[in-house]
C-alpha cells in the first residue's frame, strides 16, 4: 500500500465513524463537573498562534538564522518545524545533541508505564481502549496493583508511570490515588497518565505520591479533534487542553505535553505542543517541562492505523525542534518506535526511555498472560536489562532515579 492509499485509509476510517454518529455534543462546551480556568489565556494564545502558523512561508535562511541563535523564539521554532528545515536535519541533530549534552550530560532516565485499568468511556476512533472496541476489559484491584508493582520493582526499575483508560466511574480519583500510594512504596518516582482532572483532584493525587502528570492533547486542531473523539469526557477539547495548568496549580512538579502525530497536520500540532509548553513554563517558571512524541500505531481490530505522513525523518525533525527550542525540557521516547530508532535518539534529543513495556493490564507478573488487552502494539519489547545495555553501548549512562519526593 503506498503512502497516498494509507492516508486515504485513515481519512476513510474517520469519515465513516463520523457519519455513524450524527448527533454529537458540542466539544467546546465544558461539562458541569469540569473546572474552568477563567483567568487563564493560555489556550487562546496556543490556538491563535497555531492558526497563524504558516509553515510554507519559511525559507532556508530562516532556518539557518534560527539555528545560529542561542535562545530561540516561538517563530524560530516554527522555522525548525517547517518543510524548509528538512534539508537541515543533520545540522539540527548536531545542535540538538550539543544541547542535550549541555543540559543532561550523558544521562538517560528509565521508566516503565503500568496500565492498571483499560475501562474507557471515550470513543476515540484511533485508540485500542475506545469504548466501542471489543477487547477484554480489566481493572486491577489493590492486590493486583501491588503484585504488578512488585514484579516491576524486582527488575530494578525505580520510576513508574501509572496509566488507566479514561473512565472516572471505573477508576475514580480515589482508586488512582491509592495506586499512587502503593507505587510510592515500590518506586522513587511516580507519575500519572490518566484522564484530566480538576486542580483539587490533582492536589489529592500529588498528596498520594505522584509528582508528574502527562496528558496528550492528541491534536490541537479543534475541528479534527471533534471528528476523532466522538463521545465521553475526552470529547471536551478545552478541558483537556488546560489539564497541565491545573496540574501545576495542584502542586505537581512536572507536566508533559504531546500531540499524537499523524492525527492531523503534524507540523501545526507540534508547533502547538511546543508553544503550549513554552507558555506554561513562562507562567510557571518552576514547572518541569517534558515532551512525548507519539505517532499513531495499529490497534486491536484495526491494524490499518498508521502515522500517515509522519515518517521517521519527520518525527526526528519534530524531536530536534523541541530540543533546540526548549533545551532544558525532558523528551520521552515511546516503545511505539523501533529499537534502532530509540537507541539513536537518546543522547541526541530524548532524555528518557521506557523499558519492560506492556500496554495491557496485569501482564508484568511472570507467567501471567494478562487480564486485559493492550492499548496499542509496541515496537520495542526489550526488558530493562536489555535497554540498560543498549544505553551503555552508546556511551551513555542509564539513570534509574534523579528525583526525591518532598
Amino acid at each position: 500500500m503506498d503512502h497516498k492509499e494509507e492516508m486515504e485509509m485513515n481519512e476513510e476510517i474517520g469519515i465513516r465513524e463520523v457519519e455513524e454518529n450524527q448527533a454529537r455534543s458540542d466539544h467546546m462546551k465544558y461539562l458541569p463537573d469540569m473546572e474552568i480556568l477563567s483567568d487563564s489565556d493560555i489556550q487562546e494564545k496556543v490556538i491563535r498562534a497555531m492558526e497563524d502558523y504558516d509553515y510554507t512561508r519559511y525559507t532556508a535562511s530562516d532556518v539557518k538564522r534560527a539555528l545560529e541563535k542561542e535562545y530561540l523564539s516561538p517563530d524560530d521554532f516554527g522555522a525548525l518545524l517547517s518543510p524548509a528545515a528538512e534539508p537541515f536535519l543533520e545540522q539540527m541533530a548536531r545542535r540538538a545533541t550539543e544541547e542535550t549534552q549541555k543540559h543532561f550530560g550523558n544521562s538517560v532516565l528509565l521508566f516503565t508505564p503500568l496500565y492498571i485499568s483499560n475501562y474507557c468511556e471515550n470513543y476515540c476512533i484511533y485508540c485500542g481502549f475506545n469504548c466501542k472496541n471489543k477487547i477484554r476489559r480489566a481493572k486491577l484491584d489493590e492486590d493486583g496493583i501491588r503484585r504488578e508493582m512488585e514484579a516491576i520493582a524486582k527488575t530494578g526499575m525505580e520510576e513508574v508511570l501509572i496509566l488507566t483508560g479514561e473512565s472516572k466511574k471505573m477508576s475514580d480519583v480515589k482508586y488512582i490515588g491509592r495506586a499512587c500510594e502503593i507505587a510510592h512504596e515500590y518506586f522513587k518516582n511516580v507519575g500519572v497518565e490518566v484522564y484530566p482532572m480538576n486542580t483539587d483532584e490533582y492536589a489529592y493525587i500529588h498528596k498520594c505520591g505522584a509528582d508528574y502528570v502527562t496528558v496528550f492533547q492528541e491534536t490541537y486542531d479543534s475541528e479534527r479533534y471533534e471528528q476523532l473523539h466522538l463521545a465521553g469526557h475526552k470529547r471536551v477539547f478545552p478541558y483537556r487542553l488546560n489539564a497541565q495548568e491545573r496540574a501545576v496549580r495542584g502542586g505537581m512538579r512536572g507536566v508533559a505535553f504531546a500531540a499524537l502525530l499523524g492525527l492531523s497536520d503534524f507540523r501545526k500540532d507540534a508547533f502547538a505542543v511546543g508553544n503550549h509548553a513554552y507558555l506554561i513554563q513562562r507562567k510557571y517558571p518552576h514547572a518541569e517541562i517534558s515532551f512525548s512524541c507519539p505517532r499513531l500505531r495499529p490497534i486491536i481490530n484495526n491494524d490499518k492505523i498508521n502515522p500517515k505522513d509522519v515518517h521517521e525523518k519527520q518525527l526526528l525533525q519534530v524531536m530536534c525542534a523541541y530540543r533546540i527550542f526548549m533545551p532544558f525540557a525532558g523528551i520521552t521516547i515511546s516503545t511505539r518506535e523501533r529499537a534502532g530508532f530509540r537507541d539513536h535518539v537518546i543522547g541526541m534529543c530524548a532524555t528518557k526511555i521506557s523499558a519492560g513495556v506492556s500496554t495491557g493490564i496485569g501482564s508484568h507478573v511472570e507467567g501471567d498472560e494478562g487480564e486485559g488487552d493492550s492499548q496499542f502494539e509496541i515496537s520495542d519489547g526489550r526488558s530493562l536489562a536489555e535497554v540498560i545495555e543498549a544505553i551503555k553501548g552508546r556511551g551513555l549512562q542509564p539513570v534509574l532515579n534523579d528525583y526525591v519526593f518532598i
Partner: protein
C-alpha cells in the same frame, strides 16, 4: 604545603571540587585520581537510588558535599538536607534552591533563608548563589561556611560571564569564594583562581570531554597555576595605556 582551603573548620589541600549534575563512577575516579578532588558534590536525589549505593563509589578520605537540588524553596532545602544527613552524607551541605526550570538560576532570597535554618540545625552550609554582594553578606550573617557564586548559567560552559561581580565578592567577603557553574575550560578555571577564587567547582566540562582523564588532569594543572599566580601576586595589569609624557610634568618644585 601551608596553602590550605579551610571550609567550616575543615582543611583541604585541593582546590578542585567535583560538581554533581552528570554523576558517573568513572567521572568520580578521574576527578579524585587525576584532578585531585577531595570534595565531591552529590545530588541527594541521585544518592537516593535503590540500585547500588553511590556512596560506595566514593573513595576513602574524600569529603561528600550533598546538595539540595530539587528544592524550590528554603523549607524543601532543609528537608532534603536532613534526608542527606540521615543517608550518611555528613554535615556539609551545598544549598541549591531553584524554581526556574529554564535557566536553573538560584533564588538568593530563599537560599539565604535556607542558610540560616540549616546553620541552626548544625549543618555546614555552602550556598550556591547568583553573585550579588548584598545577598552574599546575608548568607555570611546567616552562617554560611563558603559562598559559591555562579560564573555563568549552569552547564553553559561560558566561563566567567559574571566575572566583575565575583571579583567584588572576592574583595568584600571574608569566606572562601568558590566559583561554581559555567566553567567550561581549564583556562577559565585558571583565570578565576588567578583573580583570587578559593576553589573551582566543575562537572560538565570534564564529564563531556572527549577524554575524561586528560581533562581532569588539565583542570588540576590550571587550578594550581592560577592559585600560584594569585599567591605570587600578578604583575600590574594596566587597564589604560600610560601616557608617555605625564600631564603633571609642568609642575615646578
Amino acid at each position: 604545603m601551608s596553602d590550605k582551603l579551610i571550609i567550616g573548620g575543615h582543611e583541604f589541600t585541593s582546590r578542585f571540587i567535583l560538581g554533581s549534575g552528570k554523576y558517573d563512577p568513572e567521572l568520580i575516579r578521574a576527578a579524585v585520581e587525576h584532578a585531585g578532588a577531595q570534595i565531591i558534590t552529590l545530588a541527594l536525589r541521585r544518592v537516593n537510588s535503590f540500585s547500588g549505593n553511590i556512596l560506595e563509589h566514593i573513595p576513602e578520605g574524600v569529603t561528600l558535599l550533598p546538595n539540595t537540588s530539587g528544592a524550590r524553596n528554603a523549607e524543601e532545602a532543609v528537608k532534603i538536607a536532613k534526608l542527606a544527613r540521615e543517608a550518611g552524607c555528613g554535615e556539609f551541605i551545598k544549598i541549591e534552591v531553584i524554581h526556574d526550570s529554564k535557566y536553573l538560576l538560584p533564588d538568593n532570597y530563599e537560599t539565604a533563608k535556607a542558610c540560616e535554618m540549616l546553620a541552626k540545625e548544625g549543618f555546614i552550609p555552602m550556598p550556591y548563589m547568583y553573585p550579588d554582594l548584598n545577598a552574599a553578606r546575608d548568607m555570611v550573617n546567616a552562617g554560611a561556611a563558603a559562598i559559591m557564586p555562579l560564573a555563568a548559567p549552569i552547564g553553559s560552559n561560558q566561563g566567567q560571564a559574571t566575572q566583575s561581580f565575583i571579583r567584588i565578592l572576592i574583595e568584600e567577603i571574608d569566606l572562601p569564594i568558590i566559583v561554581d557553574a559555567g566553567i567550561g575550560k581549564p583556562s577559565q578555571a585558571c583565570e578565576a583562581m588567578e583573580m583570587g577564587a578559593a576553589a573551582i567547582m566543575a562537572n560538565t566540562a570534564i564529564a563531556t570531554a572527549g577524554n575524561i582523564v586528560e581533562m581532569a588532569e588539565a583542570f588540576r594543572h590550571a587550578i594550581i597555576a592560577g592559585r600560584t599566580a594569585y599567591l605570587a601576586g600578578t604583575g600590574r595589569v594596566l587597564d589604560r595605556a600610560s601616557a608617555s609624557s605625564p600631564l603633571t610634568g609642568f609642575l615646578q618644585e
